[in-house]
């Protein structure tokens, strides 16, 4: 039996302590779960174990021998393999090529293809995976890719296998196939660390469980079989109080947005809800629940198969971002870098993209209006920069997010859609974004907030819709529910609290 020991590991980032004196140990022959809510430090711990980041203090020991890595590649060669939730296979190559990438069987200076395919076949069948090694990865389904990914990781005969949310993009029956594979791997001398958001899975697949909260190691559940659900939830969330939101938020009966039976095949089905004027509505759901896709579809950035969206009594015929913008909608996307900002341009230009029509005549831009619009948002949103000409590339995440919000506020929207507005920004900026949302509410602007950080929704929203498996499965008022209850509802409600 081998043991991976984490000894007094600290990891400090500017302004925060991501890990605080974490001590724990993972053993082979078991599936070790590592859980914690968002921001608990579990991904930081994974990155320290696999050499992507160095600890500020403390050591990682393998069988009482200290591990030090000069790079992630070095960690790999020392037997630490990681399977990330975003797949890292190369779609244009075959399964065997992906598995043996960088470690091809050679015949002199040339690749020995026959041997390479034979070896890949052997690796796959030893794990009971029925995928053709000659198949091109792009032709495989999601779960097959996930299996190949694990086969690839195992082919280097690692001592430690880190599985980071391997089931997040899989359907129920596909998950089962994956679990059978993991059970099979348990027989080998490898330490399996399993990270998942889907709590009920832990009882199915894991033997022990380690809990992190706000960078602290809370403790372990040595035997999952004997553990009660309340125990784990309490370890994860503690006795956190949700901060108060202002009580003068606008609450009206006027419906501004009505969504009826909106369906996009394989993504979300029959979604119906109403949004009132000035309301702050949350959509809670785990990764893969269809929440982001729903928001994108309402805004017209993705097509839908059926269903009706009505804005202020007017039915939308053919949604596109351009049309929805003209109807008074605005959306801040989940991915700032790739969908939100024009990195090479100035703050001012980024603040005026969505409102170009308003800031120009028939052809020509109105310089004065443009400068005023940018200055107004920089002031009101407290965007910290040397001036409007600074490029957005050099701004912090929080300030970038404010630029995206400001870009939309310049269009004078009636409905704001926020997709993960607090992702990757610091606590202060997060609070400022919340305050913006509340201020809008008081002015009668409605908001829909999508977030995977459920506490955040309780903090910022009045009403929350629960989304699971592409459907709205429930609706709650934010001040009538506890965070652990909300968590449970989002996970699927099989855990009784």
């Amino acid at each position: 039996m081998s043991v991976l020991k984490i000894e007094k590991v600290n990891k400090a980032f500017p302004g925060t302590l991501a890990l605080n004196q974490v001590c724990c140990q993972f053993e082979s022959g078991k599936v070790n779960a590592l859980v914690g809510k968002n921001g608990s430090g579990k991904s930081t711990l994974v990155k320290i174990i696999n050499g992507t980041q160095k600890p500020s203090e403390g050591r990682v020991l393998f069988n009482e021998k200290e591990l030090t890595f000069s790079s992630p590649a070095d960690a790999q060669s020392q037997g630490i393999a990681t399977v990330y939730q975003e797949l890292s296979l190369i779609p244009g190559l075959t399964v065997a090529e992906n598995i043996r990438m960088g470690r091809f069987k050679m015949k002199g200076k040339l690749i020995d293809w026959k041997q390479t395919y034979a070896e890949a076949q052997e690796i796959l069948s030893s794990m009971g995976i029925t995928v053709n090694p000659r198949a091109q990865v792009s032709s495989l389904s999601m779960w097959q890719c996930q299996m190949v990914e694990i086969a690839k990781a195992m082919s280097s005969e690692p001592k430690v296998l880190l599985l980071d949310e391997p089931t997040s993009s899989l359907a129920q029956h596909e998950t089962q196939i994956l679990f059978e594979l993991i059970q099979e791997l348990k027989k080998r001398d490898v330490i399996i660390v399993y990270i998942s958001h889907r709590l009920q899975e832990l009882w199915e697949i894991c033997d022990t469980c380690h809990v992190l909260r706000d960078g602290n190691y809370i403790g372990a559940i040595p035997d999952m079989k004997a553990a009660a659900h309340e125990e784990l939830l309490h370890m994860m969330f503690g006795d956190t109080k949700v901060k108060k939101k202002p009580n003068d938020l606008m609450a009206s009966d006027e419906v501004v947005l009505k969504v009826e039976k909106l369906t996009r095949k394989d993504t979300f089905q029959d979604v119906s809800f109403e949004l009132k004027k000035g309301e702050v509505l949350g959509i809670a759901g785990m990764l893969g629940s269809g929440r982001t896709e729903l928001l994108r579809a309402i805004f017209g950035s993705d097509m839908v198969d059926s269903g009706v969206v009505t804005v202020e009594g007017k039915q939308v015929a053919k949604a596109s971002p351009e049309i929805m913008k003209n109807m008074g909608l605005a959306m801040t996307p989940e991915d700032r870098k790739f969908e939100g900002l024009n990195q090479v341009q100035s703050i001012q230009n980024n603040l005026c993209v969505a409102s170009l029509k308003k800031l120009s005549g028939r052809f020509f831009m109105k310089r004065g209006k443009e400068e005023a619009a940018a200055a107004k948002q920089m002031e009101e949103l407290q965007i910290k920069a040397s001036g409007p000409e600074q490029s957005v590339m050099s701004l912090s995440g929080g300030n970038q997010q404010k630029v995206i919000v400001g870009n939309w506020l310049n269009t004078d929207p009636k409905i704001m859609l926020f997709d993960e507005p607090s992702r990757g920004i610091d606590v202060n900026a997060k609070q400022q974004i919340f305050e913006i949302i509340w201020k809008l509410s008081k002015k009668g602007v409605s908001s829909i907030v999508v977030s995977s950080e459920l506490e955040e929704l309780l903090e910022v929203c009045q009403r929350i819709l629960i989304m699971r498996g592409g459907r709205i499965t429930g609706e709650i008022m934010a001040d009538q529910i506890q965070i652990s209850q909300l968590y449970t509802t989002c996970m699927g409600g099989t855990i009784e609290v």
């Binding site: 341009q345 230009n349 993209v353 170009l356 020509f364 831009m365 050099s394």
Partner: protein
């Protein structure tokens, strides 16, 4: 000199490296190349760069928008053939004399240019095929089409007044230089002062962000691809006027001379970055360099090598300039 003044000069130089290099080059040629610094020669430079220069401004928009058009050289040839062919046919059919039929012919050439650009744009946006491939195919296709239309021979059915467009002089100023400055001015205004210009920068800088900001990305792409082809057609008219004929071989290989000044001017092939004034500097830069070398009696083949090196060096200079700008922020 005060310290403040000094840093502002250093700033200006680090932000306008290509302009500084151009000025140094002009100074050097003025000294070493006999006849370089005469009004006639300088105006001559403008005249010689006008053919490709006119298109370079359209190409600037295309490149800022994150696209490319490699087919402009062939479009020059096609446009020249169409003008001569249509003018001659209308005349031969007895509809109108050559003197007026050529005006119709020019309109037709420009319209066909617009259609080519529209087709490029539609294939780009509808099927999401890179413009590199589409216009590479066009480069060959249009060249062949021009050759077929002209049976492989130059067509000379053009009226005598037609020469004014490309070879005329207004006072001392060559007419094509006027076209160049006119297109420069219009492009400058479009890219810096109109909504469309902003949209081009937004689309090139981040297409998805622009789309999600409610900009009609496809429309913007189609329009810039039309603009560059219209400019190529105009350029074909200027060239055919200079030589009093239309031929499929006109403009062969001019892509390089059109794209090079845009790159020298600091535009990024990744899109989102570039300036119309930068392209103007690039155009003059290449013109001065070629002219200076000719005056110095440099071998033609050596000129090609120098031209190639200059583009590489320009890209390096712009990269260094970007790094300096990032550091200073």
């Amino acid at each position: 000199m005060s310290k403040k003044r000094e840093t502002s000069i250093v700033n200006f130089m680090s932000q306008n490296m290509m302009l500084c290099i151009l000025l140094v080059m002009i100074a050097v040629f003025s000294i070493v190349a006999k006849g370089f610094l005469s009004v006639g020669n300088l105006l001559g430079i403008l005249r010689s760069v006008s053919i490709t220069g006119v298109i370079a401004f359209g190409m600037t928009m295309v490149i800022i928008c994150g696209e490319i058009d490699l087919s402009v050289g062939s479009s020059i040839g096609l446009s020249s053939v169409i003008v001569a062919k249509v003018a001659g046919s209308l005349d031969a059919a007895g509809f109108m004399p050559l003197e007026s039929s050529v005006i119709i012919a020019m309109v037709v050439a420009v319209a066909i240019g617009a259609v080519i650009g529209w087709v490029n744009g539609k294939i780009r946006t509808r099927f999401n095929i890179p413009t590199f491939i589409i216009t590479l195919a066009m480069l060959n296709g249009l060249y062949g089409l021009a050759a077929i239309l002209s049976n492989g021979f130059p067509i000379t059915t053009l009226p005598s007044w037609y020469g004014v467009i490309g070879a005329g002089v207004l006072g001392k100023i060559p007419v094509p230089a006027i076209w160049l400055v006119l297109v420069f001015g219009i492009s400058l205004v479009v890219m810096n002062y109109t909504r469309f210009g902003r949209e081009v920068y937004a689309v090139g800088g981040n297409m998805e962000a622009a789309r999600l900001s409610g900009i009609n990305v496809n429309r913007v792409k189609v329009i810039v691809l039309i603009i560059v082809q219209v400019m190529a057609a105009l350029s074909g008219i200027i060239l055919s006027s200079q030589v009093y004929s239309g031929s499929f071989s006109f403009g062969r290989g001019y892509e390089m001379d059109v794209i090079a000044p845009v790159i020298i001017g600091g535009a990024s092939l990744n899109g989102g970055l570039g300036k119309v004034t930068g392209t103007m500097i690039g155009i003059v830069f290449l013109g001065v360099l070629m002219n200076g070398m000719t005056l110095l009696g440099v071998d033609d083949y050596v000129k090609y090598v120098v031209k190639g090196l200059v583009v590489l060096v320009a890209v390096l200079v712009n990269a260094i300039q970007d790094e300096l700008a990032k550091k200073s922020q």
